[in-house]
Symmetry: C2
Amino acid sequence: MKEEQSFTIKQTAEETGITEDTIRYYEKIALLPRAERKDNGHRIYRQEGINMIRLIACMKKTGMPLEEMRPFLAVSADTDPAEYPELVELLRSHRKNIVSQIASLQQVVDFIDMKLEEGRYRRDCSDEGLDGLLEKRMGEPKPKPVSPVEMSYFSVSAKAGKSPASV
Amino acid sequence: MKEEQSFTIKQTAEETGITEDTIRYYEKIALLPRAERKDNGHRIYRQEGINMIRLIACMKKTGMPLEEMRPFLAVSADTDPAEYPELVELLRSHRKNIVSQIASLQQVVDFIDMKLEEGRYRRDCSDEGLDGLLEKRMGEPKPKPVSPVEMSYFSVSAKAGKSPASV
DNA sequence: CTATAACTTGAAGTCGACTCCAAGTCAAGG
DNA sequence: CCTTGACTTGGAGTCGACTTCAAGTTATAG
């Protein structure tokens, strides 16, 4: 039952890491609901509003376009997903995308780790250490089988120059 | 010792899910090295080139700006990371970013799951099920402690309307 | 009473990443 | 010989996401 403290746009910006301008911009394009105003017209934000902005920041970090965030924000704001079957579907489908994005990121991490390891061992161990690492086929555009895929972004193999033991 | 098959730009586009225009664009801005040409000037791509494009596609999916990809592509192309200490550092730091991005994504997944669950149970169980889920502080801009953070993007709590049993 | 700071608005400008276009080349088919 | 298709080039146009700007309001401090 406490007063529910409120924040200025500046505080909100500091709190969330999103600039004031950007917050106003999000409001302008209605990604955020119109913020409450004080008598003098200044915006005020409560915890809920800050949480929404944080959610945006979080999704933004993942490269999600603003338009795609709308459904999440609708759910965040006040809609009960269970009452809108299509919203539930949307959430599920977005969930899938995100999980696949995590996989992409994990691949990049693996790629980096491989490169770092490779350097550590003075690359000579073998020349194909993590064959099936990248199962490829992460693009939906063309359902191409893409073959066995000996992949690993850049086949470490044929690398003239530093005596690969056996050329 | 086999001939190493080569691909046209069209095939490469199909193979990687990146359009021909975009591939040319990447070459123009030197994100990709100038592709080999046939006598008639047409580009040809080998497995290695395709792998680089796939790596770009993968990073792109994660929202990474093109400029940030350059170091990865340098490593992919032919540089041995261990020979460029600063490159190693860059890789490590990028790795950190990516791991933190994965965390962000995981949070969004958790958020979705929470929302879906919430709907399933007809939200009434409690009103704060996953307090510490989002440790917040994922932004580096301002090293703000951000307090206890009872978070969860949108405090499920105060939700007038549907008889929450106990208002 | 004035000036500084913290906001407001709408509009214009910037930047990254494409995307499209016009004009041209080359190889093979009818 | 002319057309069609797959490419080439340089350059212009688009779109999303800000970012900056100019002008105005209100609150407090000196």
